[in-house]
């Protein structure tokens, strides 16, 4: 051997000896499983800082040699990477959780909680923070644009009003189309926006199944916050801001504009120009919104608690309009012993509201700029006595507002007492009981010195009402696994009682300024009041099965009784079935890297609707005061009987696909069809039958649609950008009506006819202005002797009203949705949220008053929208008829003239937030702090000529709208 070779051998041996002595290696074995308990093959197990790695076998087992003080990393696409210190251990078992946040979320669905990944149904989950970007105390309005297929519309910017919500189109004609609300596991209940942890929207039959009998319009499940063991948290948040009214494209005329317009059909005196009152601005103000919450939560393994108090005060932009809310909640969950768990959830909400009086909104629109609002000494003028008052209603609302008021206070208390009892390892029993009590008082006062109260020397009205609801829901559950087979059986018995009573009294002849009922010297009308009751009871059973967390099947059957239906059919039976398949858990999918999650689901079932009046099936003679005569009580027929009246039924079929791409894009796609049959509706009757209508179950309506929800993490580096886009299309069609009829309300603007959308417009067709004489024109259908129909033009509204036609448009939107973009960099975050409604036509009813071609010279008029021209001389081609005092041939009567495009895109919210740096916060012993500035309803893009294209989509009509507010808010969230 040469010298070189000998040196190599010695060095190598020394190295080996050192490496063995210095770094002790351990052989580590173990199993990697997922959160369902299923073994995960092909997981990469690596030694951190090296390229040494192995893969887990088909049964999730691995074996690797690692340094005793090393760190093992476990990674798999679509799952959160886990790091485990070896610490000399030879056996390490690891559970990997999915990084798809939405799949891990546990949601409450029909008496049980499940992870979203395990559901066979179409469900949207919106968690609290995403919910609370917009500032409002009405949770329904916070849902607008956040979930596909959920269309929220607000007919008013009044803070005391609530928005209406429609899920997957209207499926009912006379019964309510509102979804069922479930709070903390039971139907009904109260909640405040600040206490909401998450909102789950259930849309198809399998999801809504267990509420099936009343869930035809979807179910909204609200879960309130609860404490977590071990971590005591105090959270304080405060938001303060300003609201101002938004008026869109609508403008009222000022004095000069109105004078110039009136000169074309009337002879206004030029002296009217000496005043130029902007009534709209006088009636509105810059309003203040405040929202303050303090919440304490925490607990131990045995007991967890969440206690919160919230103060919410939103002034309306209309003066004298206010909504003030005090909310207190206590949620306590405790384990009495190893088998028994008790939850007590208490919620009290005290609300004070003031409402505008004296026709303030109406006068703001209609009063003339020619009339002054204030006397030279600054006091409001009185429209009744001011010499030369020109406005038609002789009313200055500001005069009445000095003394008149209308307000209410209410107290609602909700208590839940829930017991969960584990009988054996597999069998458990739960009883959930709720009592809700509600009480409110309304007071309205009109002073003797004002127009509203003058005729009776002062008027005072009091209304008191009370309602109570008691509900008990008892559930027996059997849960077991046989190998890969997992089975859950559930049986539930539930009963609910509701009671309501009201009394109303009034007085007149009150001394000016006195508002106590005892100062009244007489009554205006007799005191009135009564009670109302209704009950439900239901039994149901459900089977829930899954195989290896891959294949899921659920089926249920519900039987419910309601006191609202006829004596022949008070109960309804409903069934639901759903199935789903997680493809990404199959072997053949394991190698398709871009697809991180793929699930196919389908469901089918029936749900019901019982939301009509409480006595709709009975034949009644009314015995209230309208039936009395000469001071003697009487009775007259008021309602036609229908003992066969029963539940409305809806069959829903839904197919859905959920997939994730590249761990960055999540897509949910749903295709559905819901067909309602046995619809509850008020069928109109000829007057010669003695009644105006009767309640019947007739006909069938079908809603079909597609919903898409896409969440995409576009950029994930230091600068993050995430987009959520949701869009829904729904198409509505009336399939059949009873007894071969083809129309429900012939002649109505929404006739509801077979083959048409429920909200199709049926109106006399406006045919523009006659260039020869400026007359309005409508289409008239003329059928000659041979049966051929031609269209001619007429200026007689009576002829037009006898020739109504379908306009080919509808008040239902073609598609709706929302787009949210969230950007974050460092500790800053910016989110923008747009919502849109497209393809609907809105009937702008206020144009009856503002765009009526001279009918009223004592009301204000609107500035013509762009593109509108008025006829002035023969030969003019114009959009607006000649202005004639007293109206021009009833040109403002209902027709397609006032039907406008209601589509809009609205920037509903922009929020810029800053998270204070952690080291700064540690110094002042604060856990987290965030400040933000946010704006609501900043910009709306629309062609609609009225104040706001957003209307209650079931009526599709915009009248004197209380405009929605543009809000600018500042807030701070601090956690201790």
């Amino acid at each position: 051997m040469n010298k070189f070779y000998r040196r190599q051998v010695v060095l190598t041996t020394l190295l080996l000896m050192f490496s063995i002595m210095a770094i002790a290696q351990v052989r580590v074995t173990g199993v990697v499983k997922d959160t369902d308990g299923q073994p995960m093959p092909a997981v990469t197990v690596a030694i951190k800082g090296t390229t040494n790695a192995v893969s887990t076998s088909v049964d999730g087992k691995f074996s690797i040699s690692a340094p005793a003080d090393g760190v093992l990393t476990f990674s798999f696409i679509g799952y959160n990477t886990k790091e485990v210190n070896v610490d000399g251990k030879t056996s390490i078992d690891v559970v990997l959780s999915s990084s798809m946040k939405q799949l891990n979320e546990v949601v409450v669905v029909g008496y049980t909680s499940k992870q979203v990944s395990q559901l066979s149904s179409s469900v949207s989950v919106i968690n609290g923070d995403r919910l609370r970007d917009v500032t409002s105390n009405d949770v329904v309005s916070l849902l607008q644009g956040k979930a596909p297929g959920v269309v929220v519309s607000s007919a008013s910017g009044d803070p005391t009003s609530v928005s209406s919500i429609l899920i997957r189109g209207a499926a009912s004609i006379s019964a309510s189309t509102s979804p069922l609300f479930v709070v903390d596991g039971n139907i009904g209940g109260t909640y405040n926006a600040s206490d909401v942890e998450s909102v789950t929207v259930l849309k198809d039959a399998a999801a809504t199944g267990l509420y099936g009998s009343r869930a035809a319009n979807g179910v909204i499940i609200i879960t309130t916050k609860s404490g977590k063991a071990g971590v005591t948290k105090i959270d304080v948040s405060s938001t303060v801001g300003f609201n101002t009214k938004t008026t869109g494209n609508f403008h009222l005329m000022d004095s000069q504009q109105l004078y110039d317009y009136q000169k074309t059909f009337y002879n206004p005196d030029p002296s009217v120009l000496k005043n130029n009152t902007n009534w709209f601005n006088l009636a509105f103000r810059r309003a203040l919104t405040q929202n303050h919450t303090i919440a304490v939560s925490g607990g131990s393994d045995k007991t967890q608690y969440y206690i919160s108090g919230n103060y919410y005060n939103e002034q309306g932009t209309l003066i004298d309009n206010n909504n003030r809310n005090y909310n207190f909640r206590t949620n306590v969950i405790t384990k009495l012993n190893s088998k028994l768990k008790l939850s007590v959830l208490l919620n009290t909400i005290y609300t004070q509201q003031t409402y505008p009086t004296d026709n303030l909104l109406y006068d703001a629109y209609l009063n003339l700029p020619f009339d002054p609002a204030f006397n030279p000494d600054g006091t409001p003028t009185d429209g009744r006595t001011y010499p030369g008052w020109l406005g038609r209603d002789n009313e200055n609302p500001l005069q009445g507002l000095q003394y008149n008021f209308s307000n209410s206070r209410s107290l609602s208390t909700n208590g839940d007492l829930n017991l969960d009892y584990t009988i054996t390892k597999h069998l458990s029993f739960a009883t959930y009981n709720r009592i809700t009590l509600y009480n409110d008082k309304y007071v309205t006062y009109y002073d003797a010195r004002t127009k509203s109260g003058g005729a009776n020397s002062g008027e005072l009205y009091n209304t008191n009402d009370y309602s109570s609801r008691i509900l008990t829901s008892n559930r027996l559950k059997y849960d077991n696994s046989f190998g890969n087979h997992n089975l859950t059986l559930l049986a539930v018995g539930e009963g609910e009682k509701n009671h309501y009573d009201v009394n109303r009294l009034n007085g007149k002849g009150l001394p000016p300024g006195r508002t106590a009922m005892s100062t009244a010297t007489d009554i205006i009308s007799n005191p009135s009041g009564g009670t109302d009751e209704y009950n439900f009871s239901k039994y149901l059973g459900q089977v829930d099965y899954n195989y290896a967390g891959k294949y899921f099947f659920v089926g249920s059957y519900v039987h419910e009784y309601s006191s609202r239906f006829g004596s022949n059919n008070p109960s309804g039976n409903f069934f639901q079935a759903g199935a789903s398949w997680i493809l990404t858990k199959e072997d053949f999918m394991a190698n398709i890297k871009p697809i991180t999650f793929l699930k196919l689901r389908a469901s089918y079932g029936t749900t019901g609707n019982a939301e009509i009046g409480n006595y709709a099936a009975l034949g009644l003679y009314t015995i209230d005061q309208s039936a009395s005569y000469g001071g003697v009580p009487g009775a007259y027929p008021s309602q036609k009987a229908n003992p066969d009246l029963t539940w409305e039924k809806i069959k829903t079929a839904n197919i859905g696909l959920d997939f994730g791409l590249f761990n960055r894009i999540d897509v949910n796609l749903d295709v559905y069809q819901k067909t309602s049959s046995a619809l509850l509706f008020q069928k109109p009757l000829p007057a010669t039958s003695g009644y105006s209508y009767v309640f019947e179950n007739v006909g069938s309506i079908r809603n079909r649609g597609v919903e898409i929800n896409i969440t995409s993490k576009n950029l994930v580096g230091a600068f993050k950008w995430e987009t959520n886009f949701n869009i829904a299309l729904n198409r509505n069609k009336v399939i059949s009506l009873e007894a071969g009829e083809s129309v429900v309300s012939p002649g109505a603007a929404h006739p509801i006819a077979v083959g048409h959308d429920m909200n199709d417009w049926y109106l006399p067709i406006w045919a523009g202005v006659n260039p020869a004489n400026g007359d309005p024109q409508w289409e008239k259908l003329v059928t000659d002797a041979s049966g051929k129909t031609t269209t001619v033009l007429t200026n007689s509204y009576t002829e037009a009203a006898a020739s109504k036609q379908y306009t080919g448009t509808s008040a239902s939107p073609k598609f709706t949705g929302g787009i949210t973009n969230t950007f974050s960099y460092n500790r800053f975050s910016l989110s923008t949220f747009f919502n849109f409604v497209c393809g609907n036509k809105v009937y702008n009813d206020s144009r009856f008053y503002f765009d009526n071609d001279g009918l009223y010279e004592s009301y204000n008029a609107m500035v013509p929208a762009s593109g509108w021209t008025r006829w002035q001389k023969p030969g003019d081609i114009a959009t607006e008829p000649k202005a004639v005092l007293g109206g021009n041939h009833d040109s403002n009567s209902q027709s397609s003239r006032y039907l406008e495009n209601g589509s809009y895109l609205r920037l509903r919210n922009v929020t810029l937030g800053y998270q204070l740096p952690q080291n700064f916060l540690d110094g002042i012993k604060v856990r987290s702090a965030r400040i933000f500035i946010s704006g609501d309803n900043l910009v709306t893009f629309t062609k609609f000529s009225g104040v706001d294209p957003e209307v209650d989509l079931s009526s599709g009509t915009s009248s004197f709208k209380y405009p929605i507010s543009r809000k600018l808010l500042f807030g701070i969230n601090v956690g201790f």
Binding site: L336, N337, D382, G383, R384, T385, R392, N394, E395, T431, N433, G454, A455, N456, L471, T472, G493, E494, K497, I524, S525, G530, D532, N535, S537, Y561, S563, N614, Y615, L618, T622, I623, D624, A627, S628, Y629, G630, P633, G634, A635, Y636, P637, S638, P684, P686, A687, T688, G690, P746, G747, T798, A801, A802, L855, S858, V884, L885, G887, D890, N892
Partner: protein, 502 residues
């Protein structure tokens, strides 16, 4: 563990009780089941009161007032309005008019309700039950008569051979019948009133029906048919029954402000009690506004529009001029001109301006500014029915005698044959009818059934029908299609057997 067991036991009891309670049937608190509504005499009496109560519904009495009075020439609308009442006044009605639709609907609801009661009472029941049966027949008939004169052409045109309104009686099974002819309706009305008069033997107060109420309506119906002998016969039966006397002097001036049951001249009125005031929705609110110009005077002092009522409809200029022929005419107390410092105010919304002569026939009952119990039949009409029938039979002096009863009561000089220009006694009778029954829903019918045109030549929104609209002349011939209202479009939509008026 024991405590927990007992808690669980209490729980189970509470839950089971709730579950059982939830299955109970519920009943409304302000309505009764129709199966129990007519089961005994007390119930029938209660249901009859309910039939009267339907008359009080504004959709019947207020809309009906617009349909029956506003086509006349005693009133003037001082400013344009989008309310359908404007079309009733201007003769520009449309088939979707709100008031015709409301009136038709309430009228038939009343008829069907009354028929249910009539069917429940056999013809040989006790005297009290027969009285109730008669009252229900009277109410049904009164409403049918109103319907046929609103929607059907005057009887003398074509001798009643024109489309009328659907007829319903207690044996009807068709809930959507076709229109009977005007003659068929009149014949049915007469037969029913005769039967009702037979059945009613109790002399109830003037807010309910009784035998003489049926006779009074018969007199009017026969007059409308030009059956003059019968018109006189039944008017005499009412006058000679001794139940009614004409109000005189101060009592007459305050005719409409007392308690209705105490009024000896009213034969039938629709009673509103003090707590049933309709305020701005009352008939009187269109005619009057009080509290004086600055809102602080009593309600009996006329004031600006909007104080206590709309004050948009006034007595027409020509009516007041006719009344002013004799300044002592007591009927001036039913007109309240709105003056400020003695100057008559004008409603400036039209050119020429409309003088604001407020009307008080529908105000001040029991001191409440918009309360009134509208009078449908009163004794004065019996005299003028006789006068008109006699004039048409050629009994000029007999006619004038009855006219003079009314004139004397009104405090104006009597008429002699020599005073009548051209011997037109009928004209004099109709003129007296106009002065006496102004605002009571009779004028347009009085003209058209006598084949006379309605001529308005005074300020009012009817001038807006003209070009230029300062031309205040409007002439409606008795043959004009708009003398009758359109059948409501919604009723035609729901009952294809109904034919529309041209």
């Amino acid at each position: 563990m024991k405590t927990i067991k007992s808690i669980l036991l209490i729980f189970t009891i509470c839950i089971t009780t709730t579950l059982f309670d939830a299955c109970k049937k519920v009943e409304p608190s302000t309505a009764i089941d129709e199966k129990e509504a007519l089961s005994n005499e007390a119930d029938i009496s209660t249901a009859t009161i309910g039939t009267y109560a339907v008359l009080r519904n504004p959709e019947y009495v207020r809309s009906g007032h617009f349909l029956m009075e506003y086509p006349g020439d005693n009133i003037a609308q001082g400013q344009p309005s989008s309310d359908d009442l404007s079309r009733c006044y201007r003769y520009t009605q449309i088939a979707t008019g709100a008031h015709a639709t409301a009136f038709w609907s309430q009228a038939y609801h009343l008829i069907v309700g009354a028929n249910k009661i009539i069917a429940a009472i056999p013809d040989n029941a006790s005297a009290d039950l027969k009285q109730l049966k008669g009252e229900n027949i009277y109410l049904r008939t009164m409403v049918e008569f109103n319907l046929v004169r609103i929607f059907g052409r005057p009887y003398p045109q074509g001798n009643g051979n024109n489309p009328g309104v659907p007829l319903l009686n207690e044996n009807s099974t068709d809930t959507a019948p076709a229109r009977s002819t005007v003659k068929q309706v009149y014949d049915s009305v007469i037969a029913d009133l005769l039967k009702a008069a037979d059945l009613m033997t109790v002399a109830k107060s003037n807010i309910y029906a009784s035998k003489e109420v049926a006779y009074a309506l018969l007199s009017r119906v026969y007059l409308y048919m030009n059956d003059n002998a019968n018109a006189i016969k039944y008017a005499d039966l009412v006058i000679n029954s001794g139940r009614y006397t004409l109000l005189q002097g101060g009592a007459y001036s305050g005719y409409f402000s007392g308690v209705p049951e105490d009024n000896t001249e009213t034969i039938f009125c629709i009673r509103y009690t003090k707590t049933q005031d309709e305020g701005f929705s009352a008939i009187g609110s269109m005619y009057y506004s009080g509290l004086g110009p600055d809102g602080t005077a009593p309600i009996t002092t006329p004031g600006g529009q909007g104080n206590t009522g709309w004050g948009e409809i006034y007595a027409s200029k020509t009516y007041v001029e006719d009344l002013d022929k004799y300044p002592s005419d007591l009927r001036h107390s039913f007109i309240a001109p709105y003056t400020i410092d003695g100057v008559l105010q004008m409603n400036k919304k039209l050119t020429p301006n409309t003088p604001m002569y407020y009307i008080t026939k529908y105000s001040f009952q029991e001191g409440i500014v918009t309360l009134s119990s509208p009078v449908y039949l009163r004794l004065a009409e019996m005299y003028l029915n006789k006068a008109e029938a006699n004039a048409k039979l050629g009994n000029a002096q007999l006619a004038l005698n009855d006219v003079n009863v009314i004139r004397t009561r009104a405090g104006i000089p009597m008429l002699t044959l020599a005073d009548i220009a051209g011997g037109n006694v009928l004209g004099a009778v109709l003129e007296e009818r106009r002065l006496e029954f102004a605002f009571e829903g009779q004028r347009a019918y009085d003209l058209f059934r006598n084949n006379l045109p309605l001529v308005r030549n005074y300020p009012g929104t009817h001038s807006l029908n003209n070009t230029p609209n300062t031309n205040t002349l409007q002439t409606i011939l008795p043959t004009d299609p708009r003398v009758v209202f359109y059948i409501p479009q919604v009723e035609i939509d729901n009952n294809p057997k109904l034919t529309q008026n041209p």
